[in-house]
Assembly symmetry: C2
DNA sequence: ATGAGTGTGTAGTATTAATTACACATGCTA
DNA sequence: TAGCATGTGTAATTAATACTACACACTCAT
């Protein structure tokens, strides 16, 4: 798997091919960081940035923020809060789901969404 | 709800009544921190300590580490890793479970544990 | 009444995370 | 060919986080 910076660079360059405003400098400006900083992030010279910056990047690049945060080794603080509200419950659930295959978890997601409770 | 420090103090003092070795100083020694530091944590003068220290405290005091971390506003990094492995899947699941009552989540826990998959 | 153990005040430090500022060389484009 | 935009190198700074060190006053058992 690509590391965070490589992923950002690929996403940005893909967009840049269609729309010149996705230059490193302009994206950095929209996100509110220095171009030199983004440059080093994309090349993996610097650590991935803060959650806040990652979320803005996701917005600008049209990427999924949870996936981007995960590539950075981070977990969005709103998800953290959900667990922290009921730590015992969610800790047990998550440790249990650790080895459960995707399709089985998706089934739970659907059941909950369709409100069979 | 009590804040982190108050909770620690209550737990420690309860143990101290039965066993004098649960003095602030001795607990601090077992955990590997300075007594003055623990003192300030218990009184809420300092922020809750690092995850590492909280986990050791939980061990020494016989408390649930996830609950203690939650009181500190933190989420254990092993739980974070579980989510980060499959961010889209777990992000959706958690946001969906946000408003689901405890008993319904417990049902899922049991179903998974009993292996009806 | 002294020595060991108790909790706490003041002050300062170490480490890491997260970034900025500025200058430079290259390339497009009007 | 002048000007503007591009990406990048070097160096430094800011801002939290997570503590330590040491001294002091009090209590309690011997």
């Amino acid at each position: 798997m690509l590391h965070f910076g490589e992923h950002i660079r690929q996403a940005r360059e893909a967009l840049q091919e269609q729309d010149r405003t996705f230059s490193l400098r302009q994206v950095a400006a929209r996100v509110g960081i220095e171009p030199a900083y983004l440059s080093k992030i994309e090349r993996g010279i610097f650590q991935p940035p803060s959650e806040d910056v990652i979320v803005k990047l996701a917005g600008v690049l049209g990427e999924d923020k949870d996936v981007l945060l995960a590539l950075a080794g981070k977990l969005s603080s709103d998800l953290q809060q959900i667990i922290i509200q009921r730590p015992k419950l969610f800790a047990e659930l998550l440790r249990q789901l650790r080895e459960v295959p995707d399709y089985a978890i998706l089934r739970v997601v659907r059941e909950v969404r369709d409100g069979q409770w």
